[in-house]
Symmetry: C2
Subunit: 689 residues, 2 copies
């Protein structure tokens, strides 16, 4: 039957057929991903309102320049909060609407950086004066940390805040070009106020290091820049990323602010210029951890979108190798495509589920912090760093893998994946550069290692935090099983978890041994330059693997039997792909061995291939479970009904370059070039005669 | 002295100091990269003319939309050929100018695809009629192969060319939506003519498969589309890539063309509709190989630009860890940065040098083909595929590695690296999708394997083509040394070459064994889905390694002693990085062993770190040797004098979003939102009282 359909009708038939093969109850899995039917319904309701509102129309978006995109961004932001009033959305619902808007807006940057930092650090006076304005967007904020010459290392910032006891003011000043605040989201053209990180200088010139100050940047009457301040947008980002966001610069020429504008929850300056110390240095960490924790789930949803589009497109795209029905094969039927795509789907599930859990933990920590208890901070700091490193790097790689699996059409802007890749990419650098976070993860691992080494060897249960639980394999109580066998039961997720944990333990042990050797010889460590990155990655993946293992074990309680089996296989696939990615270390330390002369990793790869084959019939169901609407994905290749060619055709017709006939530039440039060529050719032909 | 400089002056001092430390004679190495002083001087002369001409101004480029970029593209193309006339540039010089224009133009696509295909396949009649017009751009061509529903597999194309003996015409027709030609470079708004790939249908309906036909698309009088043809631009590409290029679609509604418009160098149709067979099926391959060969050197120059910018920026950027001088450390001084960046520099040298060699080989092959000798074709096909796979994937990865090494500022469009990444990225898909080429490389390797297996075991010299020379390790004459020792002499490039060759041999042998096992059991091979990709990569890298080995051995004849040593180290670094990237296979097959319990790869990594440390003082010299001008790189972070912060500042001021005060959108959207928030906050404050 399908062979008689025209090729463009066939894509819909292929999609319907694939949807019919799934053995899972899609809504049950969707409820798991959304954390309950209620939340899914709320999300659907808000999404419907936005998608039916012409203000949120996306059809012209691919053709707009930055000014137009910025204007559209503030337009939809304003409309979103109008809708909040109309529909009586709660703060959480408005926040959800902001997540569903499918655009990185200046407002996102305000909400993600300025708001948590200000609300946590402002202290009672500023909270009373500005709290309601911040929460209700009566002022729009930004958070000014990085400078033109200085990155995330706040100790090197040059901007100064000098206290003037005579007037009870701080003087905010940018002494050099390199001290210009730079990269600040929502600063360029939008924000009215900013929290400025600046070196606090006390009377007499004592430098107290970086502190935070609230500075008004623009008039609340007419939005003009206030005196002494130079501010603007820093220009476009690579790859068209964050096109709507006005990352900005600011310079301060001895700008005075009242003493009360120092954010003083944890430290302050008295009227006469004396410094009052913070009660606990770790109390200020909450804001940053919120941002990082939010990234984990967000990255999962980015991967979910990419996997959905690519799996849908590869289901309806046919290529090469004609079958007995005379049709080319569906691209998804190629094992090498499954091998690349399905792990991306797996990681989408993993990070969505772990991201939610992490947000809950940060909330608990935040409550404890407010009560003066910082006990959770160190561990939350390491685990959130570890997950942040992984979700950002695996997210970019996963989106790009999905895009490439789609071949030529994946390169069309209408695929949507370019937009997501570009907007996700900088997460590897911001909110803690991954290379910097690597060092923190390694430091945490070494600390746990030394604590373990100091513990009495007879301790039954080694004293390890969850982030370093994998180090138990270095403890005498776990010293059995020196290596996994190539013929291990790869279908059991525990095989992969153990291997990933043992790998991390081996790397940390090697690093500690090398450190103590170089310390005793007094020389520099001969370790390779990338070792910290390797260790950090291994430690983070060991933690991730342990957490995935927990997820798998929890599935029978969260889903009906069949759904638990299928999602369990999907998560196990992600684990095996992690093992494959870590093979260099695993083989280097002899943790996986096979028969002499045989490739010990072959059985692992065959297991991955087998899991992929089991999962392919469920793939459309597993992506449908994300609950994406066509409006939400805005992808020609990811449409639910599979009509990809009609979509590509229709969108191409809207390209503004097609609007004039002949094209703008023909008369001035193309015509003269053709005529010149024709003259030269005529002369050449004549010369030949 | 340097500590007293302001931070923005210091970058220039750092750059000057780094330039002073280099021990190499930069122009000598530059001459090697440019293939002689003459070519460098020609390039400089043309570059100077272009950079001084306001038509080629780049300052507004980051802010233009697609229509503006397209118009600028045809403007500079026209100007370029005007300059050719003014300065009496040869065809080669005009071609060089086109390479130096720093923009992917519609003309590049015409020159790279239409022109070689047409000139090679057209046959004497069409050459006589159109040859001079093509060469002199009296017509502008495009090459219409891929369709909306069909990729590089020409056997599946749906477009038909039906011969009508009554009028001695072909009827070109697009029977379905999916048969629309799609992605065709320069088709959308520019080309006047196209070579169309279509199924040749003979009278009686016999389908002869794909053949090529010259079809006029637009009027030479006024550029309007000719009757029966629907044509347009397919819309933007991801990441802002190829923004100037009008990749297009076309549909043909029974468009008639004369019989002579079939490209008939190798096959044709007689007046009465009889097919005349091609004399040799391989004669048509020349055009495609030219394109692939050109990509190799081009990729080298892309990596050169990225490495130059990143190394220059990391030389002047200072971050964290203050030294005894009170300054933060130069980023380039961190071993982990060197470890990531210097291999990119190495590969730039490798692909520039090998690309030139490959072009020379294709030229030889082309001359032989013209004389009816296709002996070089199979080997050229495999080696060009192998190098194409590597240069495209290593190029994208290398540019991205360089961008990330620059941290936050690497994310600015003014870095330049986003533009290069986006424009280089699709090379992995076009001119042969890498996943398709993988299969061809594997097929070539297996063919050589079986030929070797059939050869008498006593043969002293195994019968292997250069592309599969690594298989000699499977021959009895090379069966000694079963594995390399971890303590091997890594400074000797031969160590790495041998290891990479043995790895490829082991993988090909395993694949052949598994094939014969599954053939004898009648079942499907249990091999992992990605094995072809692994084998292809290993085979390609073995070939690359052998060629790098040749380059290293040739350096003492090409450069003075000191320069040969330094460039030799740089190339050896690339080899060691290749070994590191292939460690999973190398360890899986036991090709590298260490002491029991020790990490056998540790010594390799320490060797890489050591080479990096030796090369860092030469890094600015080695990048200066590319001879880039600031105009050419157009990168704020890659300026020759190191004044990166002044550059970023100056470019940000030109951002059009900064042009109005307040920003466009304030009155309509930002002001109402702020006022609404202020009302709500006032009400909330009142309620609290």
């Amino acid at each position: 039957m399908t062979t008689k359909a025209t090729p463009e009708e066939r894509t819909k038939l292929d999609m319907a057929a694939a949807r019919a093969t799934t053995s899972i109850d899609v809504p049950r899995i969707r409820d798991l991903l959304y954390d309950g039917r209620d939340k899914w319904e709320t999300s659907s309701r808000i999404l419907r309102i936005m998608s039916e509102d012409p203000v949120f129309d996306k059809s012209q978006r691919p053709f707009m320049n930055r000014q137009e995109r910025y204007k559209r961004a503030v337009k939809i932001t304003n409309r979103l909060y109008e809708l909040q009033g109309t529909h009586k959305w709660s703060t959480a619902e408005a926040r959800l609407a902001l997540d569903l808007v499918d655009e990185e807006l200046p407002m996102h940057l305000s909400a993600a950086t300025f708001e948590p930092v200000f609300m946590e650090q402002c202290g009672p006076y500023l909270r009373g004066k500005y709290g309601d304005l911040v929460i209700n967007r009566g002022i729009q904020g930004c958070y000014l940390q990085t400078e033109l010459g200085h990155g995330t290392d706040v100790g090197s910032l040059e901007t100064t805040a000098t206290y003037i006891p005579e007037t009870k003011e701080f003087e905010i000043h940018s002494p050099t070009l390199t001290s210009s605040k730079w990269w600040i989201g929502a600063l360029g053209r939008t924000a009215t106020h900013g929290v400025v990180q600046a070196k606090l200088i006390l009377p007499g010139g004592k430098d107290m290091g970086p502190h935070m100050f609230l500075v008004q940047l623009r008039s609340l009457q007419d939005h003009t820049t206030l005196p002494g301040i130079t501010v603007g947008d820093i220009g476009p980002k690579v790859l068209g990323a964050y096109v709507c966001v006005d990352n900005g610069f600011a310079r301060f020429d001895r700008v005075r602010i009242p003493r009360e504008n120092m954010l003083s929850a944890y430290s302050s300056v008295t009227d006469d210029g004396k410094y009052v110390k913070p009660p606990h240095s770790k109390l200020g960490y909450g804001g940053m951890l919120w941002v990082r924790a939010a990234l984990v789930g967000k990255g999962g949803w980015y991967m979910a979108r990419a996997a959905t589009v690519a799996i849908r497109y590869c289901t309806v795209r046919r290529q090469s190798n004609k079958g007995q029905d005379g049709l080319e094969r569906q691209v998804i039927s190629y094992p090498s495509v499954q091998y690349r795509l399905l792990p991306v789907l797996s990681y989408a599930y993993v990070f969505i589920l772990l991201g939610r859990d992490l947000m809950n933990r940060v909330a608990t920590m935040s409550t404890q912090l407010a009560a003066g208890n910082a006990a959770m901070v160190p561990e939350m700091h390491i685990t959130s760093s570890a997950l942040k490193i992984l979700v950002t790097s695996m997210g970019s790689a996963g989106i790009e893998t999905a895009r490439r699996a789609m071949g030529g059409h994946g390169f069309s802007e209408f695929s949507g994946l370019g937009r997501w890749y570009a907007d996700w990419l900088p997460t590897a650098t911001y909110e803690g550069d991954n290379y910097v976070l690597d060092l923190q993860v390694v430091r945490g691992a070494l600390k746990a290692f030394h604590a373990l080494a100091r513990a009495p060897p007879a301790t039954a249960s080694p004293p390890l935090p969850p982030s370093a639980a994998y180090l138990r394999f270095l403890h005498p109580s776990h010293s059995a099983t020196p290596h996994a066998d190539a013929g291990a039961d790869w279908a059991d997720h525990a095989t992969a978890v153990t291997l990933l944990e043992r790998r991390a333990a081996a790397l940390v042990q090697a690093r500690a041994a090398s450190e103590s050797a170089s310390a005793s010889s007094g020389g520099e460590s001969a370790l390779d330059a990338d070792m910290d990155h390797r260790i950090s990655r291994a430690a983070a993946e060991a933690y991730l693997a342990m957490r995935i293992g927990e997820l798998v074990r929890g599935l029978p309680g969260a889903l009906p039997a069949r759904e638990a089996v299928v999602v369990g296989r999907l998560l196990t696939l992600g684990l095996l792909a992690l093992v494959e990615g870590g093979l260099v270390d695993i083989l280097s330390f002899g943790l996986l061995r096979g028969a002499p002369g045989a490739d010990p990793s072959a059985a692992l790869r065959i297991a991955i291939k087998g899991l992929c084959a089991e999962l392919v019939p469920e793939a459309i169901g597993l992506t449908d479970a994300f609950g994406f609407t066509d409006w939400q994905l805005d992808s020609a290749l990811g449409v639910e009904d599979g009509s990809v060619y009609q979509q590509l055709w229709a969108r191409a017709q809207a390209e503004p370059l097609n609007a004039t006939e002949p094209v703008d530039g023909y008369k001035e440039y193309i015509k003269p070039m053709l005529e010149r060529g024709q003259r030269v050719a005529a002369a050449a032909s004549k010369a030949k005669l």
